[in-house]
Symmetry: C2
């Protein structure tokens, strides 16, 4: 029976007056933790009054008093990149379940992250989740010094000072390599990610290790300037220019793989007849491209969810002692890979 939700200058005092009790009683009655201290009768009256007046506790006031804003911040490098929305979704779901709100910021330029964090500090967020950390990120230093509760997602902290939730990049690449080797490929190349980003080096290491397990070495490796289609195309082009084409190429991510498609097509090479390609992420629609991409699926939403859960645990005082949670990726075989042509 919520009445007219008109503009609400109704304060706790109004409720107290209406209920004929003191404001502190109202405060207690409306607090889940303290309501046990109040008699059933008063509880009823207060709740009725609050309801009737359309009372909405002013969070700013409560934040000022308690120092807790029920607010967290998230920094993502590019919300337009399909891996981040599911992560955000996971974070937001966890936050909403606790009555928290999430400030989402799109930090295009890494140097702009610092001022954003400054503003978040001013807003007194209860914690932040960083999806932006590069290797040796000064931001890690900053949040640690500032005493800001922080969790990393999708990118771990190599210095081990911050808890993180990541996917197992090494395993991911091993799945791809094993699949290719199983198909009979010998000359397996790698389109590597930027080596200043944790996932970039992790995946490169994974490829090398997996190949080594088969007593093989990367046929050729080219580093991409970024996780983008353009960078992938450029890198593939460069690889092709370097000599004989590989039989298969393991890409650091889907976008790069699609860029490789572009370059390969331009060079008159067919996927998978002439060359097999694998991606990483299983972005939406990669099952519809031509040919459907064999790739690695990540539990993106869970990555977000878990990171938020860790953050809230820390906010609630459970020192996580910088643990890193590693989630398992899985191989999704489609049409971009097949056995190499007989020679």
């Amino acid at each position: 029976m919520s009445t007219s939700p008109t503009s609400s200058p109704v304060t706790i005092r109004d409720v107290a007056r209406a209920a004929g009790v003191h404001v502190s009683t109202v405060s207690r009655a409306l607090s889940p933790e303290k309501r046990s201290l109040i008699s059933d009768e008063v509880l009823r009256v207060v709740e009725e009054a609050a309801q009737r007046l359309g009372y909405r506790p002013n969070r700013a006031a409560s934040a000022l008093r308690t120092g807790r804003t029920h607010t967290i911040g998230v920094l993502v490098p590019d919300i337009t990149n399909a891996v981040f929305p599911p992560i955000l979704q996971g974070i937001e779901a966890s936050a909403a379940a606790r009555g928290y709100f999430v400030f989402v910021t799109n930090v295009v330029d890494p140097t702009l992250a610092r001022p954003v964090l400054e503003r978040m500090l001013a807003q007194r967020v209860d914690g932040v989740i960083l999806a932006t950390a590069t290797r040796d990120d000064p931001l890690v230093d900053f949040v640690v010094k500032a005493g800001l509760t922080t969790v990393l997602v999708n990118r771990a902290d190599e210095t081990g000072r911050l808890p993180a939730v990541v996917s197992d990049d090494r395993l991911a690449m091993k799945l791809a390599v094993d699949h290719l080797v199983g198909l009979g490929h010998k000359r397996i190349a790698h389109l590597a990610g930027p080596q200043n980003i944790p996932t970039g080096v992790g995946r490169s290491l994974g490829v090398e290790q997996a190949l080594r397990d088969h007593r093989m070495k990367p046929f050729r490796v080219v580093e991409c300037a970024s996780y983008s289609r353009e960078a992938g195309a450029a890198a593939m082009k460069q690889m092709l220019a370097a000599g004989a084409a590989p039989q298969a190429v393991v890409c650091c991510n889907d976008l790069v793989a699609l860029g490789a498609y572009d370059a390969l097509r331009e060079a008159g090479l067919r996927v998978p007849q002439d060359i097999s390609v694998t991606g990483h992420n299983d972005m939406p629609l990669v099952d519809m491209v031509d040919p459907p991409l064999t790739t690695i699926r990540l539990p993106h939403r869970e990555l977000g969810w878990r990171s938020a859960e860790m953050l809230f645990a820390e906010i609630d005082g459970a020192a996580m002692s910088a643990s890193t949670v590693v989630l398992r990726p899985e191989l999704v075989v489609r049409k971009s890979t097949r056995a190499p042509a007989a020679r």
Copy 2:
């Protein structure tokens, strides 16, 4: 020379003491509007002290005092849907430029929107942007009654009570239809969007009108249950079951078009040889599917940016009197459309 950004219990009082002035002087000195009232000398001293101590104004306190939180909320139905991230990006860019933060909430179930708004009201957001409004949305009523500054994006308010920023759905469909007619198609069908969503009806109207302009009528129309690939496939299947296949089908959105691809392929029909297909949105990767989709491109980022700008104008007191801004979409021709086969 910002010193150790340690946990900051440093208040305006500490700065005042360090600078040897009164707190109100500090407040003024640090406020862009009021700093002109302060002597250069004092200004210098205060700024130096603030800097040195690592002072960060407590926004919660300021919000309590002024009633302004420098915070806005955004409700999106599905952040995972590729149209929304660019919109969010536009909103966030506009907000960041003003020192505002954005609460992003993913409202899966429309019935959950109300409690989310209640919480936003409690947080005292300065305004909200709704990307979720359905037709005759009770939410519109709610925010109007609550006196919450609101702008709609991507979906207009038919009752005209709220300002909105939308893309021209009628024009979009006209572009698609004209293209198809120009190619020589006669039997043009429509896979319509949910008719309880403004864009759904807008686009349907657009198709009908455009066809009428050519003295034609829709060859067949099926409404999709949602803007999804599955719904598109189901609708296309249903259409096919209804009798002779159309020569071309105009889809309400890209996902639906891709669903149509699925159903068509299953039915042994080739795109575009047997049937032409158009989409709407120009999602990432639809240029890489097989065949590359002819579609309508929207200025998504600008949609977001403009809506935020309108919201801030209203927050700053410029009554926008519920104006609706309509942005122009554009046709992107790819490989899913061609002239009908000679019979």
